[in-house]
Symmetry: C2
Subunit: 564 residues, 2 copies
């Protein structure tokens, strides 16, 4: 009876994806020069690139790296992933040997409000049902590795606590790859002596795990295990840090992650190869796919298109200051995605009024876009704007965006990859090829030698345009402690609302001169960065009133519907 009530939208992403028969994955691998023996298959349409080949490829990352980023997100939507896919397809159509590098979807959003993370319309990665559900099991492996370490902590305390761990100071929480607000704050170890020592604990979503961040920054299995060993999980009663290495489970954690560490290979609707691998949070972590996937792609293809989480103030900055710095990457060009609708919201229009033409709001909102373009120049990178077209956009509104871009000397293209696939991003691809033809002028924003506080201030002032940064006194003390312990050379990972250049999510557009509060700092010693929290950060989302899960089902033929 439940089944009968379910309907399938023929224009849904799932229906479009189902209408295309994927090419055998060996054929996709072959287009990148990957032999059958180097392809670890997961069914006919998914595979992993053997680690040995990935490491051979990543040792010579000669391709050109194109970053797709965006204006500050709004509820109107931007389409960063579809643009990444559309641009990749367009480059392939232009005859370039192209690969796309993306993050893996998390089950949390799939069952929550957001749905899948494999693009949309004619700009999708397939098989979208498999990728959006378990894919090749990487996130489950990360979940298991994370929780094994958590179990080892409580087990160590239970069996006598030789390391003298203070159970009030265990910072390593547990994870689950679902949205489950009831697990945000829990007490564990209840029920008597046989169950251990009661203590406060909580669960984050798997993408917020430091294991995820480490997985995405490690260059080899040896590097992976060493980084895992550096994770600080607790303090002793004497306030000495306890690491994962102290608990002797980093070998088992690495064993759990061994197969997952091989980059996943799939394809777009148009058959362009896509490496989808890892997916750290973009707030407390750096928000982009694995280094091993990006570098391997650069060794296998001439053009690699990748994306970073959130808007360019967070995602691109971290991509450039954390990932590119650690992984020795030099991107060639940046695409900044904007939509007319989102710019209208940055110009002050309410979501309910987006249907009405409003040229003045578009022009005003374009200040947000221009600020991001200026910031990309600060990193020494050429940028081009992609207007991701919606059918409701009017010619005059589009002209207003184009004018705002040209006023600051920026190239801009109207793109229709959602409706047309790669053909809808042909001009964008031409410009990207032209920009990437120049030697990369990439330079990170700050030097390793600056103090941690100075690094935070540099990002706040030069990228966000804050007038001043106010540190919580405890945060400043912690930064001094990190520096005393030898972590002063790490880059900083800003955790801030993505909706504004400021720490206030309601301040759209391009505010400046504001105060940026730094409330708390955390060390991710394994990942290799110091997190600066500027406001509340949610590391375990909740499900909405009507979760997307309620629409997902399997039909009699075994097809899955409801993943948008």
């Amino acid at each position: 009876m439940q089944r009968a009530a379910r309907t399938i939208d023929p224009n849904s992403d799932a229906a479009i994806a189902a209408s295309v028969t994927p090419r055998p994955i060996a054929e996709i691998a072959g287009s990148l020069g990957i032999a059958d023996a180097d392809l670890y298959r997961y069914g006919p349409f998914k595979g992993k690139v053997a680690l040995a080949l990935a490491q051979k490829a990543e040792a010579d990352p000669r391709g050109k790296l194109i970053l797709v980023t965006a204006i500050n997100p709004t509820p109107a939507g931007e389409g960063k992933t579809t643009t990444t896919i559309g641009l990749g397809d367009a480059l392939a159509r232009a005859g370039k040997k192209t690969a796309i590098a993306l993050r893996e979807p998390s089950l949390g959003p799939v069952f929550g409000a957001k749905g899948g993370a494999t693009g949309g319309g004619r700009a999708q990665v397939i098989p979208m049902d498999e990728i959006n559900l378990h894919f090749t099991g990487d996130f489950h492996a990360i979940t298991a590795a994370h929780n094994l370490l958590a179990a080892a902590i409580d087990n160590h305390v239970y069996w006598g606590n030789a390391l003298d761990i203070d159970v009030r100071r265990v910072s390593w929480r547990r994870v689950v790859d679902l949205n489950d607000r009831a697990l945000r704050k829990v007490t564990v170890g209840l029920g008597g002596p046989g169950n251990g020592f009661p203590r406060e604990d909580g669960f984050d979503i798997t993408v917020a795990s430091e294991v995820m961040a480490i997985f995405c920054l490690a260059r080899s299995l040896v590097d992976l295990e060493e980084r895992l060993g550096r994770i600080v999980v607790a303090q002793t009663f004497a306030r000495t840090p306890i690491t994962a290495a102290d608990l002797k489970v980093t070998g088992a954690m690495t064993a759990l992650l061994r197969d997952a560490f091989q980059p996943n290979l799939v394809q777009t609707l148009e058959g362009t190869p896509v490496l989808i691998h890892g997916g750290p949070f973009a707030n407390i972590a750096h928000g982009c796919n694995s280094v091993i996937a990006t570098r391997a792609a650069l060794g296998l293809a001439d053009y690699v298109v990748t994306e970073a989480g959130f808007g360019a103030d967070l995602g691109a900055e971290k991509f450039l200051d954390i990932k590119c710095r650690q992984a020795n990457l030099r991107p060639s060009a940046v695409v900044v995605v904007a939509t007319v609708r989102a710019l209208k919201m940055h110009g002050g229009v309410a979501q309910k009024d987006l249907g009405m033409e409003n040229i003045a709001a578009v022009s005003a909102g374009a200040a947000n876009l221009r600020r991001h373009l200026e910031n990309m120049a600060t990193f020494g990178l050429p940028a081009v704007v992609a207007i991701n077209r919606f059918t409701s956009d009017t010619p005059a509104e589009i002209a207003a965006v184009e004018e705002a871009c040209r006023a600051v000397g920026a190239r801009v293209h109207l793109c229709s990859h959602w409706a047309q696939g790669g053909a809808g991003a042909a001009e964008l691809a031409e410009t990207v090829i032209e920009l990437a033809g120049q030697p990369s002028g990439y330079r990170p924003l700050y030097a390793d030698e600056l103090s941690l506080a100075e690094k935070i201030e540099t990002v706040a002032r030069r990228i966000y345009r804050a007038g001043s940064v106010v540190f919580d006194p405890a945060a400043l003390a912690r930064l001094a402690e990190f520096e005393a312990r030898g972590y002063g050379g790490l880059p900083v990972c800003m955790a801030k609302t993505p909706y504004s250049f400021t720490a206030d999510p309601t301040l759209r557009g391009a505010p400046e001169g504001f105060i940026l509060p730094v409330r708390e700092v955390r060390l991710s010693a394994g990942a290799g960065f110091v997190v600066a929290l500027c406001g509340d950060v949610m590391t375990m989302p909740g499900l909405p009133r009507t979760p997307a899960a309620e629409n997902i089902h399997v039909d009699e033929a075994g097809a899955i519907w409801g993943l948008f």
Copy 2:
């Protein structure tokens, strides 16, 4: 530095497994008549049998089904899995088209004390590292499906609780596929209104999930979803049962389980095909691999060797009364595994004294073995004893077991498959072929029409040889309630210590006339049985003082060691 301290035992199961190059999985599939198009590969040596083919095969389960079970387990070890593998290899060597059907390993024991679950010595399933870690992700899928339902319950309450769920009466716990005693009893929903309503909760290990039991008893995806929908997760304030169907996530749960539901195909060291699929607990659930795998194997092979959890009093009884009844299976013969060492323990010898010859103790302990042989006759099945040889066994001790078996007319064979592979179980295979040549006399122990209490009493008196059964009054009231709600026709699933015929784990041998206490009963409406708990049952193990995880590591070449 940590790495240097690790040593590898060349006689370990892992080293033996690594010394054999597996045959390509397509070749193994081909030996069962499975075409390439019906094989969903997970790398070169693992695959899943396409559901359509599995269902075609299971519709005509013409092969002969051989059950491997054992005496009551002792710390001395029995070797049920190695015997299952060795017998399968021996049948294949005898020219029979053979398949083996086993349970999947859980990560809990792998990282805890027990180690892997893929056999040992020359009787192993490979690739043992991959099978013992994530395998094809089935348990992760079951974990995710289980926890999605849990999140949906708390989310429903959070958003207004239209179903009027009493948070004090939520019986659906959460699961994790690890040993983690700190999670046995927890409180969730703490931290304020934004995180929901605080309530008591707890985590079981994934194998204890009713989703696991359902997965292993469902015949199709439609059956799977219907069974999931029948799971009772909570009660309202008016004490009305709330089911998973009420929470509208059974479609999403089925989507999570779709790929997992296809049976996994691997091979023994000798290249015999093995279907490894599902793995429910043998206490609160029925403890054997999936129905779809067993029935598909029977459609693909002439002989199928499978095993059931624990000793024959629990594992075989549930296999015969729950699985065979629900799945319409008629086994042909039973192998009861015993070791000299274990029989000595049943005869009163302490573990530390097992090294000394003790013929009298062997003879006394054989009473346990004879009881199980009698019980198999009660089910109308011919049984043969396999003595799983240990190097410490003396000729006189072995003769004592043989004599005890012959005294009750039972066939018995000394087996050395651990040391010799299939060649070590050749005589056992001959006898099995002979016994299975007769039409199956299988009959379940009790009729569906008996009351639930009568079913429990029948198992207790006829299989365990209890003198009487004492029900907790609340348990009796619950049984009456289940019957009033229409569940009276279900079989019962006994949850009792595996170490004794009684509810007291210290009473070895063959006690009789004792009192069996039934302390609690639970309804598994989706799985389709009523659980009777005779004593404490642990559904979340803890890690030992020195977990096996501490020995597991990945070497420079990417090989995993330490999985025994």
